[in-house]
């Protein structure tokens, strides 16, 4: 990381963001007045049931798709479209199949006009750092899923984005590769310090990685819970059995499985049952 330019982490804020798709009777509301303030350099996970609109939030921050209401700011600037200050990592890798590993990683630097020697050097360094030094000239289809996703991640990070948006990036990997990727991501984050917004439906993953977890409701998505994870860093697998971890996990699961409204109804029913019969 030494020779590359320093990274300036950026804050992200969503002010009353609503998004709906379609029109008239077929309109579907994906986001309902979401407010979210994320300080620069924080690692935030967005947790929610499948299909709740988690990806829609990332698209809004990334600058794809139109807001129905509200504003998104990254740093001091209002978001109007996609830009290289916000790197996006999708669930399935989006490496260009016709470029080798190193030319894929160089791509963003090339687009910004960085001279060939310099960008090759930066790409090589970051690839070596994530253990892919021997695969610089392979094509993406010659790599395993875990390696593809590693290349995908460093292709974004080599540009030193202030924010990275990750959309369930590890969910198609096998369990062991996934754990390796999580640790690697934390190392890179510790070294670079960018803001990370990480979307997942996996509670363990969210708690293990994040400073803060935001829980969304079912569609239309609203923020129904939000809490800090104050486990010490650097985190190890021991964090997974920490009492705080267990408590937050139970809290997240309750929110995810039942949601606040159903939860309270359930409790009332249980209470009346114990009183009556």
């Amino acid at each position: 990381m030494s020779t590359a330019a320093a990274l300036r982490a950026k804050s992200v804020s969503l002010n009353g963001v609503s998004i709906h798709f379609g029109e008239g009777a077929h309109a579907v509301q994906a986001l309902d007045a979401v407010d979210l303030q994320i300080p620069a350099g924080q690692f935030v996970s967005i947790l929610g049931p499948s299909g709740c609109g988690k990806s829609t939030i990332l698209n809004a921050i990334g600058g794809f798709g139109n807001l129905s209401a509200g504003q998104v700011y990254v740093g001091d600037e209002r978001v109007h479209g996609a830009g290289p200050d916000r790197g996006i990592v999708f669930q399935q890798h989006t490496l260009l199949p016709w470029k080798t590993v190193i030319t894929n990683v160089e791509f963003g630097l090339k687009m910004r006009g960085v001279p060939a020697r310099e960008r090759r050097q930066s790409a090589r360094e970051i690839l070596e750092q994530v253990g892919l030094g021997e695969f610089l000239h392979h094509y993406p289809h010659q790599l395993s899923g875990g390696m593809q996703q590693r290349v995908n991640l460093v292709r974004v990070l080599v540009n030193r984005p202030g924010v990275i948006l990750m959309d369930e990036p590890f969910c198609s990997l096998d369990a062991q590769t996934r754990l390796q990727m999580q640790s690697m991501l934390l190392e890179l984050w510790a070294a670079l310090g960018m803001t990370v917004i990480f979307v997942t439906h996996d509670v363990d993953e969210a708690l293990f990685l994040s400073d803060r977890v935001v829980v969304l409701s079912r569609r239309p998505a609203r923020v129904i819970d939000e809490f800090s994870v104050e486990l010490p860093r650097p985190r190890t697998r021991e964090a997974l059995t920490d009492p705080q971890f267990m408590r937050l996990k139970r809290r997240s699961l309750e929110q995810l499985l039942e949601g606040p409204r159903q939860l309270s109804a359930h409790r009332q029913a249980a209470a009346s049952e114990s009183r009556g019969v």
């Binding site: 260009l96 687009m111 021997e134 096998d174």
Partner: protein
């Protein structure tokens, strides 16, 4: 696309990386398979030629009248004459030159236009309706108009080869752009690609497999159209040679002309395919690349 493959591997999963990267094609097995395929091909070919020889020599008249059909040995004799005569080079060169110009111009225009049509709705709306009307018209049907359009027969024949190649290349290029994975475009945009870079770095290479398919099909249709045009309005050219052989009742040369057309078409198509493989080492036709 889900490319994960279940592997029967009891060992640790981290080994998978090395295994996958180190797996090399098994050379000995694939060469043996190629050799067998070539041998089988030659065998089947010689059986059919043998049958043809029998039919011609014995004047079989069973639905097909073989009495006027030259035997393979006659054709071989004619081929030996033809190969040593200066006429060969003149005929082949005329045809190849027409292909080179007509097909070349068609490819450049069709790829360029196809990229724009696939990418910009405005261009698509402005051009596609007219192109859709012209597309089903066979190149042969253009011949009378081509003769009126151009001053010389030479130009009209080149135009016919152009027509033959243009539509397959165009349609495949459009298809290639339209079926491009949109996430690749999004990823490239977030990495800072502008409109020009997007064309050069993502859209053109992404559509390339489909373009090569179009170029290969176009090569075939281009020869097909050229031969027809040469038969009708040509002087020199391999199609003209074949038709001339018929009018002069020089029957072995008809077959010789046909075989030459087949070989030239096959050769040029395989050149296109080889070029495609050379320029797209990343592309795996079975199963895709992503």
């Amino acid at each position: 696309m889900n490319t994960s493959v279940t592997r029967v591997l009891p060992s640790a999963l981290s080994d998978e990386d090395e295994l996958r990267a180190a797996s090399l094609p098994r050379v000995s097995q694939s060469t043996r398979r190629t050799a067998l395929a070539v041998l089988g091909g030659l065998l089947s070919l010689s059986v059919w030629i043998g049958l043809w020889q029998l039919a011609s020599v014995n004047d079989w008249n069973f639905f097909f009248r073989f009495e006027n059909i030259p035997a393979p040995t006659d054709v071989a004799a004619a081929a030996a004459d033809f190969l040593t005569s200066p006429k060969l080079a003149a005929h082949v060169w005329s045809s190849v030159r027409r292909i080179f110009i007509g097909y070349g111009v068609a490819s450049v225009l069709a790829v360029g236009l196809g990229l724009l049509i696939g990418r910009f709705r405005l261009v698509s709306h402005a051009t596609l309706p007219a192109l859709e009307v012209l597309r089903p018209i066979p190149a042969v049907a253009w011949i009378p108009l081509a003769i009126l359009l151009f001053a010389s027969a030479e130009q009209s024949m080149v135009f016919i080869t152009f027509i033959g190649a243009f539509f397959p290349v165009l349609l495949n290029t459009i298809h290639g752009v339209e079926t491009l994975d949109r996430r690749l475009l999004h990823a490239a945009i977030t990495l800072g690609a502008g409109p020009v870079a997007l064309f050069r770095e993502v859209i053109l290479p992404g559509a390339m497999p489909s373009i090569v398919t179009g170029l290969s099909i176009g090569m075939g249709t281009s020869w097909f159209s050229l031969v027809t045009a040469e038969m009708i309005s040509g002087q020199f050219g391999i199609g003209y040679y074949t038709w001339e052989a018929y009018t002069l009742q020089n029957y072995p040369n008809i077959v010789l002309g046909m075989i030459s057309i087949g070989l030239l078409g096959m050769l040029s198509s395989s050149l296109i395919k080889a070029a495609g493989r050379y320029f797209m080492p990343w592309f795996k036709p079975n199963g895709g690349a992503a």
